[in-house]
């Protein structure tokens, strides 16, 4: 019996343009990524290590990959200087070169595609990489994600002004590039991540005017707090930002005291500063991990949504690992890079081992000494919900907190004919916890070019508050490739197989589907169907 040919319009038999194949791809050249790359090379694997940093000045201006908030000094425009500074600030980069690692800086990984039941087309693990003027597909036998951390955004009136930025962005600009714009900053948040950021910025010559904490007492390490106080930093617990003022950028922050219900009360006070650093919640960068299909879950002890890992740092997808901050953030790990490096070593030790042999459960990190869900929700309640004026929580699509909570159609529709009166989230969305992706589709919050980097955690917190649920009940707003914005012209750099171009059709390429109804035969069989009829679907 002859086997019928496969559907020529399907992916079957359409090869991908794989530019390179490697044993191990490591994404991210921080402490964990470097350790993974160097030790994998020592084990004899061919290793490709990519890091998107330093990203071009314009990309920083778009708040990719971190919330830079236009806080870059002019020197950040000089790409060579930035590259040199990046290499000089991390001695192990040179060590990686010497170990034979193929290290490519300024190269982002924008997607990972894994063969599986829902994706038979992929030959295995296929990663998409992009430099400033290049875009290629690379096949890897193993992938180790070491994508680092980013910061939860936190809005208040004026938070779109230049000078409001995430702690991780501030830290990178100040300590790796010496390209931090502001000279005098206030820090929002008092956990270990916030306090270590404050101290590092101070060491880099920046005046830390104050630590603002909404909780009644600072929550971080007493020694770190004492150091900051001794250096002249005001510790203002039980306070919240009311507004960032200034003409072209931040010139001062207005703060107010919170009452026992967490409502701002009393007289406001202005603190002069040209930088406001958001350090209320460091969170693992899971964009690539989630987009690839690895299982992620809200894990309080790992700082929020983080990949589900076994004892070898292996994700739910075979041969894909996560190490360093993207695998989870906790106070001790923030203070000691050896913890991230040990994770990398465990992953490298498991390379090539059968998954079943390395199936030991991951050791749980120490439980945080504060409830990160309640803490982050309290910040959003005090700063966003209790804000004295409406502002855009989603800056790209200009969506306010009220519009998110009331699931309003976007303002450009100017929709007046509103029939529904009951605007509770549950009545609007049905049963179960509100889903940020559903709210995104209807309000556009998180749908803009920053790909939700600035508003994602805030939107989740708003929905949690609106539904009276903990943060862990709110599903993760899904990530999809490209996890870095990619110009169409750059996508076009990856060649297409001639077999695919020859059979490309707008839709399924089925002639019978488009036969006008007045010409449709009474019976359909494969034998009598004209499969070769003209298509180019409607």
């Amino acid at each position: 019996m002859t086997v019928p040919a496969s559907d020529p319009k399907s992916v079957t038999g359409k090869p991908l343009a794989i530019a390179e194949s490697v044993d191990v791809l490591v994404v991210g050249a921080g402490p964990a990524g470097l350790e993974a790359a160097i030790s994998a090379a020592a084990r004899g694997f061919g290793v490709l290590l990519v890091d998107e940093n330093p990203v071009p000045f314009k990309t920083m201006g778009d708040d990719v990959p971190l919330h830079f908030g236009q806080g870059m000094a002019a020197s950040a425009r000089n790409r060579n200087t930035m590259m040199e500074a990046f290499v000089a600030s991390e001695p192990r980069i040179v060590e990686a070169f010497e170990a034979g690692v193929d290290l490519r800086l300024g190269t982002a990984c924008w997607g990972l595609y894994a063969n599986g039941p829902a994706l038979g087309w992929m030959p295995g693990l296929v990663a998409g990489l992009a430099g400033e003027d290049s875009c290629i597909l690379v096949q890897a036998r193993h992938v180790i994600f070491a994508c680092g951390r980013r910061d939860m955004g936190l809005g208040f009136p004026g938070w779109e002004k230049p000078g409001v930025m995430g702690a991780t962005a501030a830290l990178n600009l100040a300590t790796r590039y010496d390209a931090f714009g502001p000279r005098k900053a206030v820090i929002l948040g008092s956990n270990t991540e916030a306090l270590t950021t404050a101290l590092a910025l101070r060491e880099a010559g920046i005046t830390i005017a104050a630590i603002i904490e909404q909780a009644a007492k600072p929550i971080g390490d007493a020694d770190l707090l004492a150091k900051l106080s001794a250096g002249g930093t005001e510790i203002l617990a039980g306070h919240v930002v009311r507004e960032a003022t200034g003409r072209d950028g931040v010139e001062a922050v207005l703060i107010a005291r919170l009452d026992e219900e967490g409502r701002p009360v009393g007289e406001e006070r202005a603190i002069a500063c040209d930088g406001i650093v958001l350090a209320v919640g460091a969170t693992p960068v899971v964009d690539l991990i989630d987009a690839a299909g690895c299982k992620v879950a809200f894990q309080t002890e790992r700082g929020g949504y983080a990949p589900v890992l076994n004892g070898s740092q292996r994700t739910s997808i075979g041969n894909v690992y996560a190490v360093g901050d993207c695998a989870g953030i906790w106070a001790a790990k923030t203070r000691d890079r050896a913890i991230a490096e040990a994770e990398a070593a465990r992953a490298v030790a498991a390379l090539g081992e059968d998954a079943a042999d390395t199936a030991a459960a991951a050791a749980a990190p120490p439980a945080p000494d504060y409830d990160i869900s309640a803490y982050r929700l309290a910040w959003v309640r005090a700063s966003v919900i209790e804000a004295r004026a409406e502002f855009h929580v989603c800056q790209c699509e200009e969506v306010t907190a009220r519009e998110i909570l009331e699931v309003r159609p976007p303002r450009y529709l100017d929709w007046q004919n509103e029939r529904r009166n009951d605007r509770s989230l549950s009545a609007l969305l049905g049963e179960g916890p509100p889903n940020p992706d559903q709210v995104k589709r209807l309000t556009r919050a998180g749908m803009g070019p920053c790909q939700g980097r600035r508003c994602r955690e805030q939107v989740a917190a708003l929905l949690a508050l609106g539904a009276a649920q903990p943060l862990s009940a709110i599903p993760l707003a899904g990530y999809r490739a490209p996890v870095r914005p990619m110009p169409l012209a750059m996508a076009a750099l990856v060649p297409e197989a001639p077999e695919q171009a020859e059979h490309w059709d707008t839709w399924f390429g089925m002639h019978a589907q488009w036969v006008p109804f007045w010409e449709v035969p009474a019976r359909y069989t494969v034998a009598t169907n004209d499969a070769t009829g003209r298509v180019a679907s409607e």
């Binding site: 490209p482 297409e496 839709w507």
Partner: protein, 388 residues
């Protein structure tokens, strides 16, 4: 677990077809309940190009009549905008796309043939990569997410109900009729049943003794950052379908699909692929002045097709009170009309506004049992995770 109150009509599937049917029924005073295993509109209904121009379909005339009225009828915004432009990058494509003009003309709708100069005038982002195109003075495009939610809210405004996160596990039948739907949250009584469960329609109808033949596949789309609005957003062609949204994003899809095995449990995985790059390349060909625009997302949807790609909207012969409906991968734009047709079949026994005999199940009476294999709709086997 509290008991779920039954309904006169239970609809399985909270996609665009099921919700439109629910809205049509509810506004006619029928007690209706939509059961959805996940979130409404989460599958293909919320993942398509939003086109509303299906001139080959017997529902075309009603589709065209209803779309301009939908904002008013639903009471919620659909973002519908009329008319479309289709650009061709070759004389071959120009000839193929001409079919729409002929089909529509036969049904009384106008189109205009555009030369290169006219095409560039009407489509500011176009360039010399096209040879010409068509301006269809019919059809249009809408926002699938908003429309979908509009159906659900409008149905609820008329007293209809939606139950999300409820999976159908079986049916109770009595004397050739379905009397209840069995779910993971208990039994739901019904006088009539509508199956509009997308890829699951085949499996569920087989449980009732008469299978609607379907096979699932994955298709993909991309979306760019917003660009200045073109005078007419419904522009596609060059092998792509899609539109510029009212916000200004370019949302387009096309190219090869992957046939998939049906997942019975939960919602299917919908991974995207590097096909994103090739859609992007073609979009830069269609609209070269947008080549700088950045792709900010891609997404995939799992869609079912019947063997001939045409819809099924019919009553089951095996159970007297069951209507089955699949729009076979082309459901969004036709939804205002398909919901009405389903309503007619449930309430009146036959569609009163169009001849939908080509949607009958009887056309498959002589279908080869191994039709999937014969058409080459094979599932590509997943390889084992590579051991080192």
């Amino acid at each position: 677990m509290s008991e779920i109150k039954g309904a006169s009509v239970v609809i399985v599937g909270g996609g665009v077809t099921g919700l439109s049917a629910g809205w049509w029924l509810a506004q006619g005073g029928v007690d209706v309940l939509v059961l959805e295993k996940g979130l409404i509109g989460w599958e293909a209904s919320g993942r398509n190009g939003g086109g509303c121009s299906h001139h080959h379909s017997p529902l075309f005339a009603e589709e065209q009549r209803l779309w301009p009225l939908m904002d008013e009828l639903l009471g919620y915004p659909t973002e519908f905008r009329p008319e479309r432009i289709r650009l061709a990058s070759s004389e071959h494509q120009m000839a193929l796309y001409g079919r729409a003009l002929r089909n529509a003309a036969r049904q009384g709708f106008d189109s205009e043939v555009l030369d290169l100069k006219q095409a560039k005038e009407m489509v500011p982002l176009a360039g010399d990569t096209v040879v010409g195109g068509y301006h269809y003075k019919f059809g249009g495009h809408a926002n699938p997410h908003r429309t979908l939610q509009g159906y659900a809210w409008a149905m609820q405004d008329h007293g209809g109900r939606v139950l999300q996160h409820t999976t159908v596990t079986g049916f109770r039948t009595e004397g050739g009729r379905v009397t209840a739907v069995e779910t993971d949250r208990g039994e739901v009584g019904c006088d009539s049943l509508v199956l509009a469960a997308g890829p699951q329609t085949g499996r569920l109808s087989a449980m009732l003794g008469q299978e609607v033949p379907v096979q699932s596949a994955r298709c993909e789309m991309i979306v760019t950052e917003p660009l200045p609005l073109m005078p007419l957003g419904g522009v596609d062609g060059c092998g792509l379908y899609g539109r510029q949204t009212l916000r200004g994003n370019l949302a387009y899809g096309g190219g090869p699909h992957e046939w998939l095995a049906l997942t019975e449990e939960g919602t299917p995985a919908k991974p995207t692929t590097p096909l994103m790059l090739h859609i992007g390349k073609r979009l830069a060909q269609l609209l070269p002045k947008a080549a700088h625009a950045r792709i900010i997302r891609s997404w995939a949807g799992v869609i079912e097709n019947t063997p001939d790609g045409r819809p099924v909207i019919d009553r089951l012969a095996s159970q007297a009170n069951v209507v089955v409906a699949t729009l076979s991968s082309v459901g969004f734009g036709l939804s205002p009309a398909s919901g009405r047709a389903i309503r007619d079949l449930v309430v009146d026994g036959a569609c009163g506004f169009a001849d939908i005999s080509t949607f009958s199940l009887a056309r498959f009476a002589e279908l080869e049992p191994n039709w999937r294999e014969l058409q080459g709709w094979q599932v590509t086997a997943a390889t084992e995770a590579l051991a080192a």
